[in-house]
Symmetry: C2
Subunit: 286 residues, 2 copies
């Protein structure tokens, strides 16, 4: 199938590589063209604009950072919507506001272009190993058309609901995950206050009711005091900003998430923007 | 081996039954003697006081509720310390303050009685199926003597450190677990505000970076709106009270746990004391 991929960062590049490796004809575009070099070497073509990319693609994937980035590459000048043919499907893997996903989808629907919000969980490692969890919002018929392609990118693909539902699920994912990191950091802080080695505490907890991927991955980083980023903390801070604003708009009380958000603010203020979110432990230390 | 068991509630009774089934000679005591009836039927003996129970036991297990309960059965009138022989081991499975565990251990050490704090995680189900995670603080030599007995009760046995270290690990376990429940409840609330079915959101999250036992078990209860207690919420509220007081004493900042604690206070105020802690979702609803 003729595919397009926009956004070739830590997530997008390995995802695009997996599509190319699966034998698809791939055209790519990135804000910084040099990001495309490894893919061009592997056989992808480069398009000068998102519109040009869309002109020849049956399905276009997006993996950029923020709501404004998605609006720009889809609806901006020389954006996807100027080039995409009726019947095309645009799959957005970025983590953005559900309301923006719904608005973009509505604009594209007028031109008979399907839009799926399909944010992912699993990080750059999951993107490389094609083990991402993909949370999809939008028309079930559009999802069925692209499902074989998504199966190249991830291990679980769940249709959560209508447009925006994928983004809501991703918001829930980030809220739970980062709250978990914050709780593990506080446990590590309490253990240290008692003079205990957190590595042994973590080992005791792993098999019990507090066991989680967060405890395994981030708890281990804290125990080893390895704060090099898996995902940069500023991205989790960005994600919290999105759904805390949504919660305010909807009148949904999120007291624990609000406290976690303040800890992420402290993390940014301390300058740990590009470090791992396990650095939340350092905010609790002198 | 000659064993004693004190405290025959939701946790203690199935644990005592597993020891009896493994072929040990078991004497039991409970504050309410009728709690012992099923065990006596199965072959256990009844002692009139903890002191009498200790007189013939090589190892005594305790599974009661609070710090004061442990102090009473060990150090009170007709308590274990009056009857236990030098060389005996007392294993306390209750969840209590680390400082109390250390104080009780110090008192018993004068009489050459070993005390291990060995709180467990896994709930009544884990107690029945002997799959508990057991977190042990105290002398390694004492742990090695009772390890074959603990292996009858649980699946993982981790020596976390000196006296009190098991209780610190349990505090970390409860902090992380209940913070997780609170975060899942807020995710369910946010999903509902967006008009989504939380069951589908949960399914999308299970395989990703937010995956955990809490999401599996408590998330499922919230999705099905089944708030019947696994463990009564008042026990989690009690556990939070213990380590929040310890954190204040030690000067360890626990901002997220502090917020979770307030939500547990709200849960108590709403009268959900004996319901499941997944009821934290109801506190967020109108």
């Amino acid at each position: 199938m003729k595919l397009g991929f926009i956004g070739l960062g830590a997530m997008g590049r390995p995802m695009a590589e997996n599509l190319l490796r699966a034998g698809h004809e791939l055209t790519v575009w990135a804000r910084r063209p040099d990001a495309a070099a490894p893919l061009l070497k592997a056989g992808a073509r480069y398009a000068e604009t998102p519109a040009a990319l869309a002109r020849h693609a049956d399905v276009v994937f997006i993996a950029v950072t923020a709501s404004a980035d998605v609006e720009q590459v889809v609806l901006g000048a020389q954006g996807l919507s100027e080039g995409a043919r009726p019947g095309a499907v645009i799959v957005d893997h970025s983590t953005i506001a559900p309301a923006v996903a719904r608005a973009v989808a509505a604009r594209l629907a007028r031109r008979e272009i399907d839009f799926l919000d399909a944010p992912v969980s699993g990080g750059a490692g999951g993107a490389r190993s094609a083990t991402l969890a993909i949370m999809v919002g939008g028309a079930a018929s559009a999802l069925e058309r692209v499902r074989p392609l998504l199966a190249v990118l991830g291990r679980t693909i769940v249709h959560v609901g209508d447009c925006g539902a994928g983004q809501v699920a991703k918001a829930c994912n980030q809220m739970i995950m980062v709250a978990g990191i914050a709780a593990v950091a506080e446990a590590a802080r309490l253990a240290a206050a008692h003079g205990l080695d957190f590595g042994r505490v973590r080992a005791a907890l792993a098999a019990g009711s507090a066991g989680s991927r967060v405890l395994d991955v981030f708890g281990d980083r804290m125990a080893r005091r390895d704060f090099a980023a898996g995902v940069a903390a500023r991205l989790h801070h960005k994600d919290y900003g999105i759904f805390m604003a949504e919660a305010a708009r909807l009148g949904a009380p999120l007291p624990v998430a609000a406290q976690v958000w303040q800890q992420l603010n402290a993390l940014m203020a301390r300058g740990f923007c590009d470090d791992d979110t396990s650095s939340l432990l350092k905010v609790l230390e002198a």
